[in-house]
């Protein structure tokens, strides 16, 4: 069978990325220009600043990717790109670059939903088995996705307010930790104990999430301690927040695993890099669901990258999904 090579571009948030992937799982080149240092300076991702950096990086990142793969655009079979969701100004740059390449080289143009990229990042580890349950956790998303087959996505649970990664960043700000809060909280939590009691978020649908209350709970706990002249241990607060957030997260996963017969469970998205979450998944899956296969993606595929967009784009390509040149970026878009 002929190899299928996909070049992909991802620019939905604060990484300008390009990758070339063979047959959906063999990475020939994978380049990411991260803006994290700049956004740390700004205390978060500022959309206009992100867009400005994307246009600075876009052509050089494509050029370097081609160079690393030792290929020309003529040799690829399709151009995939993240259409959304994400920051509209950031998305524009990647979408336009992809459209320009597809037009100039007469290649099929393949639109990809960012979250499907996170899901298919797991294809770099091993073959996906269906039906499958994916927990997609990131700065913008907290979703349970059921897949009966390749490229069939059904959201069965989602956050009603903040995404889990957003909650980490907000709590990080409350605790005066530098942006991004997630990795810092994860690290500090290891040095603390979950001694502060924070209420588990309550929602009606057992598969839905809610994290906005947790930030207020952390603030209230801190104020209470201060009122009583007690010192606040940042490490213990991180440990308490993380434990509560992950306990709530896992409750929903179990509810989903108990109600749908799936063959595989996969973790996806930026928050999949959280060390405690990775341990939790491993422990719970092996103990409680030994018959369900599971994948925890390597750290390098958790954060935004274009290889995952190429992996998803490969399946989309085979399914005949194509975009015309009038396609636009979409800040919000359903799976």
């Amino acid at each position: 069978m002929k190899d299928i090579i996909i070049l992909a571009i991802e620019s939905s948030c604060d990484e300008t990325a390009c990758a070339i992937v063979k047959n959906g799982n063999e990475i020939l080149a994978n380049k990411v220009a991260s803006q994290i240092d700049v956004h740390t300076l700004y205390g978060g991702v500022v959309p206009e600043v992100a867009s400005r950096i994307h246009i600075e990086n876009i052509s050089i990142i494509i050029k370097e990717t081609l160079k690393e793969a030792n290929m020309t655009v003529e040799q690829v079979d399709g151009i995939a790109f993240t259409q959304g969701p994400g920051l509209i100004g950031s998305l524009h740059i990647g979408v336009l670059a992809a459209k320009t390449l597809a037009w100039a080289y007469n290649k099929p143009l393949i639109p990809v939903h960012h979250l499907t990229g996170h899901i298919y990042a797991n294809a770099f580890v091993k073959e996906l088995k269906f039906p499958l349950l994916a927990l997609v956790v990131s700065g913008g998303h907290t979703e349970l996705v059921l897949m009966k087959e390749d490229y069939d996505f059904k959201v069965i649970g989602e956050t009603l307010d903040d995404a889990i990664g957003e909650a980490y960043d907000k709590v990080g700000r409350v605790l005066n930790l530098p942006y991004p809060g997630g990795p810092k909280i994860d690290k500090l939590a290891k040095e603390g104990k979950p001694i502060y009691k924070l209420p588990l978020p309550k929602v009606e649908n057992p598969l839905d999430f809610s994290f906005s209350g947790l930030k207020s709970a952390v603030m209230q706990a801190i104020n209470r301690l201060k009122r009583n002249d007690r010192e606040v241990s940042i490490e213990d607060m991180c440990a308490s927040f993380q434990k509560t957030a992950l306990t709530s997260l896992w409750q929903k996963v179990e509810a989903a695993l108990d109600s749908y017969a799936v063959k595989q469970f996969i973790l996806a998205g930026g928050v999949a890099a959280n060390s405690e979450l990775r341990e939790l998944v491993k422990e719970k899956m092996e103990k409680k669901y030994p018959n369900i296969d599971y994948i925890i993606p390597p750290l390098k595929y958790c954060t935004d990258n274009a290889a995952m967009i190429a992996a998803s784009g490969y399946i989309a390509y085979k399914k005949g999904i194509r975009a015309s040149f009038d396609i636009g970026a979409k800040a919000s878009i359903d799976l």
Binding site: L41, E48, E56, S59, G89, H92, L96, K99, A104, A329
Partner: protein, 198 residues
């Protein structure tokens, strides 16, 4: 050999097809916010209806601002990919310079928040650097000696955007050749420092 002029930095999607001696064809759409959707479609149409293939296009000349941030980035992204990856030679013009053409003109372009981008040009040459001024400051500058061009509705006059397609060609000897396309960035005239969290 052909050249394509691209301006998306204000409310138009303007694509101009030229050769050494003349404008062959152009397309000017008023589609603020939709430039990103239509730019490739219109580029494709422009070349096809003139039976020209992209291979025969040697140069791209693009406006690099000041103007709408998103708008400027649209034309520039296309130009950067065509320059860096496809291998076209890229030239730039200031957006205000394009709007002035070869006239003796004061060009005003809405920069929001009661400010305008201001360009003072004569015969394609900048008489002062492009800048951003408050509309109150600009009122002091308005006089009858120069042609006023751009978003004049902000000053109680009728807005005026003269034949900018033609200007691409008229300013041919003012096109600035880009030596390293990968580091080309828009001219914003407003620093990203403004976005720092207060």
């Amino acid at each position: 050999m052909y050249t394509i002029g691209i301006d998306t930095s204000h409310q138009f999607l303007l694509l101009v097809l030229m050769d050494e001696n003349r404008i062959i064809d152009y397309k000017q759409n008023q589609c603020p916010k939709l430039q990103s959707e239509y730019i490739i479609v219109e580029l494709d149409n422009l070349l096809k209806r003139n039976n020209i293939s992209l291979i025969e296009v040697k140069n791209i000349v693009v406006t690099i601002g000041p103007g709408s941030y998103t708008g400027v980035r649209i034309g520039l992204t296309v130009a950067k990919v065509l320059g860096s990856i496809v291998g076209k030679t890229v030239y730039t013009l200031s957006t205000l310079q394009l709007y002035a053409g070869i006239k003796n003109a004061l060009v005003l372009m809405d920069a929001r928040a009661d400010r305008c981008y201001v360009g003072r040009y004569n015969n394609g040459v900048a008489l002062s650097e492009d800048s951003v001024l408050t509309n109150d400051e600009i009122k002091e500058l308005l006089c009858d000696d120069v042609a006023l061009i751009g978003d004049l509705h902000l000053f109680g006059k009728e807005s005026y955007y003269p034949e900018i397609a033609k200007n691409f060609f008229l300013l041919k000897d003012k096109w600035k050749k880009v030596s390293n396309i990968d580091i080309l960035t828009p001219v914003y005239l407003k620093s990203s420092q403004e976005y720092l969290r207060k």
